[in-house]
Symmetry: C2
Subunit: 135 residues, 2 copies
């Protein structure tokens, strides 16, 4: 029983390491969000760069705080709506620290009972701005 | 004890799901390799596209098989050497099925005791080819 438990824990650590290595190797800027708490669980260097802050400053912080004029409940609700929207599955927001206009592409998934949310960030070119802006 | 074990397993499943969702969300083509067996443990859709085969056909197969004129032992050894090479931390190879020249950028990491290897794939433009070609 104890050995089985140690094997499970080892396997969990292996998965954890693979998760972190793959997240960081991705050039796609990615945030992993707890949609209940509205907090950034994890992010990669590419995402920190677009948001204009160090990764350790962003990890664990409220995702709404990283954007201009966003309140926590309203923002995570907008992300949830976008994740379910087939026509416009994204929203745009201005990164507070970098001043950059970003498109957020959210995806809800179930991870061991809880819902989690992956958000891809894409810089928005100036000429594209407008249309789906929500702020 | 039983409850603790179930909690561990639940956590492991959560990490597993996050790993798979992040791997697939990455637009960076990524292979995760078992460097001992020389097999592809996991890959994302972007990597399958460059290699010219379905993901399920590639998952679990020998990584050397996906490239022209590569033998398994020699190929994983070349990947290991490249991972340790500060000056040229990559190698080039021709994807057997797609015929595309690819740069492979390997990174060794330790995951719960075993070594694992992440390999990023980059298409090589025709004019860049030569130099570090190994085949």
């Amino acid at each position: 029983e104890q050995i089985a438990r140690e094997r499970d824990q080892e396997r969990a650590r292996g998965r954890e390491t693979r998760y972190r290595v793959v997240l960081e190797a991705s050039e796609t800027p990615i945030l992993v969000i707890d949609p209940e708490a509205g907090r950034i669980e994890d992010l990669n260097g590419a995402a920190a760069l677009l948001l204009g802050a160090r990764r350790d400053a962003l990890q664990g912080s409220a995702v709404a705080q990283a954007f201009e004029g966003r309140r926590r409940g309203e923002f995570t609700e907008a992300l949830r709506r976008a994740a379910a929207d087939k026509d416009a599955p994204h929203l745009e927001a201005l990164a507070r620290r970098s001043g950059r206009a970003l498109r957020l592409v959210p995806e809800l998934f179930r991870a061991s009972g809880d819902m989690a949310m992956l958000v891809r960030l894409q810089p928005v070119a100036d000429e594209e701005r407008g249309g789906s802006e929500l702020s």
